[in-house]
Symmetry: C2
Subunit: 342 residues, 2 copies
């Protein structure tokens, strides 16, 4: 591992000159001939600057820590991946790297604590929420992050007093699938949610219920089920719902993948979609487009949310943003799984 000193020796100059030249190729601080010798030495010794040493010296790493408080394997969830994709593309544009930390903890608050332990030196953080995060844990996570004295933005986490920089995906806070189904004349709507205890699922539950009540529709708690975001589970739950509540005319699913599972269930029961049963997804993922029938869904603009978060964080790092909330609204995508009821 060749160091700047070896380059200096080989080129017959001082380490300072090498450093200055390599950080600013067109500096006038170093002569043309010297520059050439340095270039040659760099080539000969396969020199690359050690980011750890330079971070230590500059007190700036150009690395962003990604905090995802989940015990599931990373990169296995379409939703989080889209968020990450947005974050990465934006950060990459500005020359920032992304760091993902290990953790062997069980609960989401311990995971975050461990990850922060291994993260000192990052220039900032993005905190994701997951189905595992309870309100308590998130508050703890935010406090933990605040102690680092580095900027951070919360992404896709329900509104929180404590967080200064937030990007919110609005449709996770209002249950607009239910709203749409009501407009289409549906009155018997089941709701299929993600993990119980997750903040999003809870919020959706609450809003679903009040939307129904505002529309003077009786609310039956048994028509709301919590799952695990997986198609298989949704398949089983949809079957149960459709047999237990035959008067149901619509299933509002928290994700397209759950909707796809529900569609399979309905088909297997000999029901036609949308004539016999309407099914809403959420996300506008590829599954929604490729399904037959194509799934009516809500585009959450997840990637944009990721980009916004990255953008906001960079602004905070260079000091131009102090406190800000960005709301990403959803867009209804009407396809073939919802019928109108007279």
């Amino acid at each position: 591992m060749s160091s700047i000193r070896e380059i200096a020796k080989l080129a017959g100059v001082s380490p300072a000159s090498v450093s200055i030249y390599l950080n600013d190729k067109k500096t006038s601080r170093v002569g043309a001939a010297t520059k050439q010798r340095i270039d040659q030495a760099v080539k000969d010794l396969h020199y690359h600057k050690n980011i750890f040493a330079s971070t230590l010296s500059l007190q700036e790493s150009r690395i962003i820590g990604i905090i995802i408080p989940s015990k599931m394997p990373l990169f296995s969830n379409e939703y989080t991946n889209s968020l990450l994709s947005g974050v990465q593309s934006q950060l990459s544009n500005e020359g920032y790297s992304l760091l993902f930390f290990p953790s062997d903890a069980r609960t989401s608050d311990e995971i975050v604590e461990q990850q922060i332990q291994r993260s000192t030196g990052c220039d900032g953080y993005i905190l994701f929420s997951t189905g595992f995060c309870t309100q308590d844990h998130i508050e703890k996570n935010i406090m933990e992050l605040q102690k680092t004295d580095k900027p951070f933005v919360t992404l896709n986490i329900p509104e929180m007093e404590q967080a200064r920089l937030q990007v919110l995906i609005r449709d996770l806070e209002i249950c607009s699938g239910t709203k749409y189904l009501l407009e289409k004349g549906h009155r018997n709507i089941a709701l299929m949610l993600g993990r119980d205890g997750g903040m999003h699922a809870r919020k959706l539950y609450h809003d679903h219920r009040s939307l129904l009540e505002h529309a003077n529709v009786a609310f039956d708690p048994d028509t709301v089920v919590f799952g695990d975001y997986q198609a298989q589970r949704a398949y089983e739950q949809a079957k149960n719902l459709l047999t237990s509540f035959p008067h149901l005319t619509a299933l509002n699913c928290m994700s397209d993948i759950m909707a796809a599972g529900a569609i399979l269930a309905a088909k297997d029961m000999g029901l036609r979609i949308p004539e016999d049963i309407s099914i809403m997804g959420r996300n506008n993922s590829l599954h929604a487009r490729l399904s037959t029938p194509a799934i009516t869904t809500i585009d959450l603009h997840i990637e944009d949310a990721g980009k916004s978060a990255a953008h906001l964080l960079l602004a905070a790092i260079d000091g131009s943003a102090v406190s800000q909330k960005i709301l990403i609204p959803g867009t209804l995508i009407e396809r073939d799984t919802v019928s109108t009821i007279a």
Copy 2:
């Protein structure tokens, strides 16, 4: 940003004692009373060890660099995500972090060069291949990686002399979808590939062709198309193929998503699957399972491949692996999109 020195001062001990204690809580090198004072100081000052400084001192970062030579946004491709998921879960178990680098370069060789530039200090690398990588570029990438003097493993890259540590997904080298279709009696098989120029696509092309020739089936180059791995493109290409070559009985697609696009095309043309046309996918992704009809596909065990790569890299880092090739075989998953031809 409190340092070990401030902790030492507050606790009334030397930095050395603090360091030793924090790295080994039950050391006998530090007295019990001292330990307590250190713990208190750590709490009071929100101290976390600076990984950059510690890396510099230990010459070990416990960070693995992930090199993905693509200009597409990361985390937006199901295939790569599964690979990454395997890599991350395995590495996380052993306490390693993952680092993703930025790049604004255009070609895959420049991307890798830039990324390596920003990576010195990582303990090792995993090099991914992408549809953008030509043979030339990959060779250059490997050479570049070798110069770092750190271990690296190539993942999902066709066999390469130069690389010492490799994990190969076997089915990307033999076109087993075509083999299966031949066994099922098909003789008129079109092949729908990913990006032209990509090494995998080329290899598949070659093997498809020789499988046909071995079976004494005439090969028509016009029945092979290159795409972009996207469903939309596959949809259009499938329509073209099915109109231009009405005698076709099967479409072998390089990915499930392309297969899903092809299925949509066939349906739109009024063809029944698999009675009128058989369609093979590859990957055994969620799309294959959720599609109607469910797609017959080849499970590539992508996540396992990622885990193997991580495992191999860790073995190389601790010196127990020097040179090794791991082959991940594919498994045929028979579902509902391929018929038998008498």
